[in-house]
Amino acid sequence: MKKNEEKLSKPVTSTKGPGMKRRNFLKLLGGGILIFFQPWNVADLLAVPQQQRRTLTKDYNAFIHIAEDGNISCFTGKIEMGQGIITSLAMMMADELNVPFERVTMVMGDTDLCPYDAGTWGSQSTQTFGPAMRAAAAEAKAVLLDMASAKIGVPVSRLEVKDGIIADTSNPGNSVSYAQLAKGQKLEKYLEVKPASEEYTKFTYVGKPFNRVDAIEKVTGRAKYTGDLKIPGMVFARILRPPSHGAKLISADVSGAEKISDVEVVRDGDFIAVISGNKDKVDEAIVKIKAEYTFNEMPVSDKTVFDWMVKAESRVSVVRTGGDIEEGRKQSDKVFESEYHDPYVAHAAIETHTALAHMEGEKMNVWASTQSPFGLQDAIVNELKMTRETVRVRTPYVGGGFGGKGAYQQGVEAARLAKLTRKPVMLVWTRDEEFFYDTFHTANVIKVSSGIDKSGLITFWDYHVWFAGTRGAEIIYDVPNFKTTSYSENASAFRVHPFGTGAWRAPNNNSNTFARELQIDMMASAAGIDPLDFRLKNLKDEKMIACLKSVADKFGYVPARTPGNRGIGIACGHDAGTWVAEIVEVKVDKGTGKVQVVRVACSQDMGLCVNPEGALLQMEGCISMALGYTFSEEVHFEGGNILDRGFDTYQIPKMSWLPKIDCVILERKDKPPKGGGEPAIIAVGAAVANAIHDATGARLYRTPMTPERVLEAIKKV
C-alpha cells in the first residue's frame, strides 16, 4: 500500500487516464468516487484469440465505484454464468472495504458501463482478477481514509473502518461514512496496483461458506436471462441453416413460409430468416422453406477421425524435453506403448445461445448469453460496419457456458436482423442449432511410450499429443528422460476439423490426464506395485503428494496390486494452478458392460479458498459433469454433418449416475487463490478407466467408455 501513497496524495481529477481514450464513466454514474485498476497483464492476454484482443498494455479494465449513497460497486466485463463470481468477488470487496456484504454490487458484462474485458474463461476470475480487485479495494480504502482524515482532522493512523463508517479510534463519536465522503464528489483515480497477498485470516466473509447472492432470484423464476427479456414490438426469429458444415445454398423457395399468417421472411443474400411475434409460428415457417445446397464434405467421420488426425499435415513442436529418451529406453526393464483416443464433446448448456437486439436510431442495443460481451461488440462492429460507440452489449444471467459461450454468433445474427428489420429481434437458438454450431472440445490422439526399471522407477517418457494442446500434457512425475511433442492444426496447409472447436471446461486437460494416468497405472500394474505407492515413489511434486495422501485418507484407501477385483482407480494432475487427486470406486456389470461409479473422493490444493461453499459446489459439479465425457458424450458426425443434435442421442449425466462424492480442500490460507471451476473435471475419466481395469483386468484406451466398449475390452482379457 505504501508505494502508492505519494500518488494518492495528489488526487487525479482528470477524466483521462494515462495513455488511453476513456469513456466518461463518472458522467454515466452520476458522481461519487471511481478507482480504476488493471487486473490483467500481458500474459493473460495471450490466451485471448487474436481477433478479440485489444491493445491493453496501459489500459484500466475494471473499476470500483463508491456511490454518493455509500454503496459500492465493482464494474467488470466479466459475466456470471453459474460459476458464482457474482458472490465470491463481492465477498472480497466487502472484506477489503469493511462494508456489509449487502452494500456491494457486481456490475458485470455491460460494454457501456464496464471497462473492456476479453472474456470469462480459464478459471481466471478468482485467481487473477480477484487479487487485483482486492488490491484496488485496499487502495480505495486508503483514498477514503485520506479524505476522512482531512475531513474530521484525525491522522489516518488513528482511524478505523467498520460497516462503511470511518471513526477516530480514540473518539468513536468523531466519524464520517463512505456515503458522506462520496457525496458531491466527482473523483477518478487511476492506480497501478500489484495483486495483494496479505493474510486473509482477519476477513469477515472470505474463507467462510457463503450462499449465492443470486439464489433467491433463481429459485423464484425472477432471475432474468437473455431470453426472458421483452421489448414492445419484439419478434422471434429463426434462421435458415445449411444441413451440414461446408454446404452452400443454391436456391431457396420461401413461398411456403410467406403463406403463414403473422410471419415475415427476411432475406439478405444467402442469409434467410423468418420473424414473427409468435414463437411457434417461426418454428412452423422455417421448415416450409425449400432450399437446395451443394455439398463439399470433408472425408472424415467420428469413426475415422483419429487416423485422419495422425496423418494430417500439422505443426510439430517439442514442448519440453530433458535427458535422453533412447538412453532411458536402454535402462528399462519393461517398455509400454499405448495410443489413446478422445472424441469431440459438446458444451450442451441448458440455455441455448440466445440474443435480443434492438436498433434505435444509430444505436444497436444487444443483450446476449455470452462469455465475451466485448468480443461480441467487436464482432458486430466489424460485420455490420458500425462503431464501438454505437454498439452496446449487455449480459444478463447466462444459463451455463463451459467455454461454449465464448462464441457469440447468435449475437451477431440477432443484430443483423435488428438492423435489417428495425424491429427488436429475439433469437433463441434451437437445440439442433446449439449442437450444430457448438465449438466442440476437440477430438485428439495421444501416443505414449514409457518404461520402468526393475525397482519400479520410471526410466523414460516419450509423449506425442495430436490436437489436444498442451494443457495438462506435462509429465508431473519425476522422470529423468522425457519429451513432449505436440501436433497442432496448421490450418493453411490442412484443415483438420470440419466444424468449430474451442475451449471446453479445462480445455483438453482431461484428454492429457487420461493418457498420462492410464499409462502410469499400466506401469504400476506391470511392476506389481500398488498404484498409489507407484505414484508416490515416482513423484517429487510436494503439492501432488499432499493431494494424493489426503485423498487416500478421505477414501479410506487400502493399498493393493491391480487388477485386484475391487474396482478402485486413482488419477491426479493439475489445472489452472490447482492440484487435484481423485480416487473412485466402480461396479462393473460384466454381462452388459454397464459401469456405475459408486463413490469418488477428491482432494484439491487451490491456494486460498475464497468461498469454500462455492468451491465445493464447483468440485462436485466437475466430478458429476465428468461422468459425461467418461461414459457417454461423443459427437457423431459424417463430414460436416453433425449426427447428434439433441439430448435424445447425446446423453449428459443424470441424477441416477451420481456417485457419493467426498471432497477435501487443503488448507492453504497463506497462498494466493487459484482456479476452482475446472480442475476436478480432469482426472475422473482416468480414475474410472483405472478402476474398470482393477475390477475386470480390461483396459480401455478411449473415452467415452460406453457399455459396448467396456464389453469389448472385457472380451479381450
Binding site: 443470486d214 423464484t220 414463437k279 444459463g399 459433469m625 435424445d648 451420481l658
Partner: protein, 158 residues
Amino acid sequence: MEETIRFTLNGKKTELLTDPSQTLVWVLRNQLGLTGTKWGCGAGFCGACTVLLDGEPVRSCSLPVSDVAGKKVITIEGLEKKGKLHPVQKAFVEHDALQCGFCTPGMILTSVSLLQKNPSPTRQEVIEALDENLCRCTAHVRIIDAVMDASKVMKGGK
C-alpha cells in the same frame, strides 16, 4: 384461429384469447410474462420447461395450450405464498442447489410434485423422480440433498 382458453394459473382463474396450437411454454413466457418457465430443448428431453398440470409435472414445450383448458397450471412463480418461499425453494437456496439456475424452476416443480404425492421419499425415489431433468452445471448432489431436507421440513408442518 384464435380461441378463448380458460384455466387456473397459479391459483387464479385465467382467460386467454390465443392460438390454441401454440405451445404452453411460449404462451406462458411471451403472452403471460411468466418467464420463470425456461425453454431448453423443445423436445421434452431436458425438463427446463416443466410446469405442474393438475399436480403432475409436464413438459410445457410439448403441450399445446388448448390441452390445459379447464385444468390447473402451476409455474415457478406460483410457489411463493405471500412473499414466503415454498419449502423446496428455500431448501434449494440453503443447499446451494443451483449454479446457472436455468434448470432450477423445472427441478423445483418436479420435486414439489413428488413431495405432494410422496411426502417421505427415499433418496432413491428422489433420484428417480428427477432423473429426466437435466442439469449441466451438475448441482445434482445438492439438489437431492435439498429435496430430502424439504421433505423433512414439510412433514414438520413448517
